[in-house]
């Protein structure tokens, strides 16, 4: 098959192509729902109602979206530097560890307004440190970041199980989890839902990332490295330091999932709280075209899917919550790996420029 690769008009590149890709993903989802024996339109109806039908469900949608913003931004900022960070899962886990350790150490002595910034900084620091090792291994030792970040997810998981089972477990507890945080280690949440102040942190991160990427020297250098490493190197960018910087930012952003989950909801360190958000961040970043505004929109959609999907699974026993995971996989497939799929047809249908 011959694939035309002519440039499409700009509006088609930015809007039409991504929309068609996502539509294709959802078309496949509809077919799967049909195969299971559920009417896709009925399912969609329940899903939308479950996601935005009441103030509580909107709260949950926004709470899930907060996690997706963090991991989506994390993947996007690394993408801008040409780095593919698949380690969001582990970085979120270790970021949560940092957040939790800071609170467990200090929550009895500090008031909430002082505890929160320290815990947030600790989450960023731990997440960044967990990403810094693969970055260092790539920049200075030549091992590929994709492989090392995957491996670090497993190492993080093993480390957390060890710490929670043997070290951090609350005295007398049967389940591997730490003691409860004191009130100063909790973020204020909306009554009746899991939505908490972390969402403001997430939105602040979006603005800061936009400023960083498009309005600072380092952000420019990072994007230059992503576009053309040789040219960036020739222009005087230190690629090694940029790799380290990009990955540390990425890891810090992923680490904030720990803030939303532990400070906002669980109020203690628990097992497996990243629950796939790190991987979902890849879908969010691809769908949001690596732009903060796109990431927020994609995160809202995935948050709504997560919340609506849970409600749908409750109503409709033939569908489980994992349907959302299927959707994430298909979105990554169609907007990532198969993003050029509709291009030949679009090139035929649309008038060429010039």
């Amino acid at each position: 098959m011959k694939l035309a690769r002519g440039p499409l008009p700009r509006w088609a590149e930015i809007l039409l192509l991504p929309l068609i890709n996502i539509a294709l993903a959802f078309l496949v989802v509809g077919i799967i729902v049909r195969i299971i024996g559920v009417d896709p339109f009925h399912a969609l109806d329940r899903l939308v109602l479950g996601a935005v039908g009441s103030p509580e469900s909107i709260g949950y949608t926004l709470y899930y979206a907060t996690n997706f913003i963090f991991t989506g931004l994390a993947v996007a900022v690394a993408f801008h530097g040409g780095l593919f960070n698949i380690g969001g899962e582990g970085q979120a886990y270790i970021g949560g560890l940092g957040c939790g350790l800071a609170i467990l150490a200090l929550d009895r002595y500090l008031p909430g307004w002082l505890m929160a910034p320290i815990a947030i900084a600790a989450a960023a620091l731990f997440g960044a440190a967990w990403a810094a090792v693969p970055a260092w291994l790539q920049a200075w030792r030549g091992s590929h970041i994709v492989i090392t970040t995957i491996m670090f997810n497993f190492v993080a998981s093993a480390l957390m199980v060890y710490l929670l089972v043997n070290v951090l477990i609350a005295p007398g507890s049967m389940t591997p989890q730490s003691r409860n945080f004191e009130p100063s280690g909790e973020l204020p949440a909306l009554p009746g839902s899991a939505l908490n102040l972390s969402i403001l942190l997430a939105l602040a991160c979006c603005v800061l990332m936009w400023l960083f990427l498009w309005h600072t020297r380092w952000g420019y250098a990072l994007r230059a490295m992503g576009h053309n490493p040789e040219a960036a190197h020739y222009a005087g960018t230190d690629l090694k330091r940029m790799t380290l910087l990009g990955m540390c930012l990425s890891g810090a952003l992923a680490g904030f999932v720990g803030v939303n989950e532990l400070m906002g909801v669980h109020h203690r360190i628990v097992l497996d709280f990243p629950a796939g958000y790190g991987f979902a961040g890849i879908a969010v970043a691809l769908m949001g075209r690596n732009h903060p505004v796109g990431v927020v929109l994609a995160a809202l959609l995935f948050g709504a899917l997560q919340q609506g999907g849970a409600e749908l699974a409750f109503d409709e026993p033939r569908i489980t919550r994992e349907m959302v995971v299927v959707i994430q996989g298909l979105v990554i497939l169609f907007s990532g790996a198969l993003e050029h799929l509709p291009r030949p047809w679009l090139a035929v249908l649309l008038p060429r420029r010039g």
């Binding site: 030792r141 491996m151 994992e322 959707i327 497939l333 799929l341």
Partner: protein, 307 residues
């Protein structure tokens, strides 16, 4: 003395049991990676194969139909990967990640819809619906274990001693030269990806209808990634990769035995540390602290034919 012999035999058997899916997966992954197609999707292929294998075995009561379904499922995943990476020149890592996530979700969704057991398949209790040990009832030496052992020399022979293998290696190092010689790069890579699917399918079948009696959610538990680590650890060579699989299998077997045991001079070794060792060792290798692992040159790069 008999005790020692028994321990050695049992440990060796346990090692082989845990290494079998790793070996099959690693041999499959080798074909793909040698041809220049990165495969981080081994995990997803194996999971899909395990699910469809167990489903078919449960429905037909025949382990052989299970194996066939497992291979079929893995091949469909492999073709999707090939379609995205070879035909559409998409990002190979993105495609692999997508397939992993898709498999993690789809197996549970379909399993729940078909069997109503929270994503599990019905236990394989009928005679003939599982692969059973052949010679040693307690060692678990079913036919897929022997298939895994045979797959290693087969892979070596195919890659090192046949014309197909020569071209496969060439296409992973320098596709332009292969293209210039008038051999289709795409067709070679598709065949490599299909071979990969075949072996990953066997690995999945082993998990759900030989080692265990049915599918349970996320039952691959990272073994696809350990196989990937073994490929790298074995420097993209069949026999060294096989050795890495055995080491990782031994670590796993030892981890279970060491649980709660105090090692003189060290104290109690955390099981989690031993579980993380394959990844840590591979990273040490990748970092150049133990020899050097050099990937095929054109790996991960879509081939664009010039017009």
């Amino acid at each position: 003395m008999d005790d020692l012999a028994a321990i050695v035999f049992l440990t060796a058997a346990a090692t082989l049991r845990t290494a079998t899916p790793l070996i099959l997966c690693a041999m499959g992954g080798l074909f793909s990676e040698k041809s220049g197609i990165v495969d981080v999707g081994l995990e997803g292929k194996m999971l899909m194969a395990a699910f469809f294998g167990a489903s078919a075995a449960a429905l037909t009561g025949s382990a052989w139909w299970g194996v066939a379904a497992a291979i079929g499922a893995a091949e469909i995943m492999a073709l999707l990967h090939g379609f995205a990476c070879i035909t559409y020149r998409g990002n190979q890592v993105v495609s692999g990640v997508a397939l992993n996530i898709l498999a993690a979700g789809l197996t549970v969704v379909l399993g729940n819809a078909w069997f109503h057991q929270g994503g599990q398949t019905p236990p394989l209790e009928q005679a003939g619906s599982r692969m059973l040990p052949i010679f040693f009832p307690h060692a678990g030496d079913n036919i897929l274990v022997y298939a895994a052992l045979a797959s290693v020399p087969f892979t070596w022979w195919l890659i090192a001693r046949t014309r197909f293998g020569l071209r496969l290696r060439a296409v992973g190092e320098m596709p332009l030269a292969v293209d210039a010689a008038g051999v289709s790069v795409s067709w070679l890579r598709y065949r490599a990806v299909l071979l990969c699917g075949f072996f990953a399918g066997l690995a999945g079948a082993y998990l759900s209808i030989a080692q265990n009696a049915g599918f349970s959610r996320d039952m691959t538990a990272g073994q696809g990634f350990i196989a990937l680590a073994a490929i790298i650890f074995g420097k993209w060579q069949p026999f060294p990769a096989f050795g890495a699989c055995l080491i990782f299998g031994l670590l796993d077997a030892v981890a279970i035995r060491l649980q709660g045991v105090r090692v003189p001079g060290v104290g109690e070794v955390p099981v989690q540390f031993i579980q993380a060792l394959p990844y840590l060792l591979t990273m040490f290798l990748l970092a150049g602290f133990i020899g050097r692992a050099v990937a095929p040159k054109a790996i991960g790069v879509p081939y664009e034919k010039e017009h």
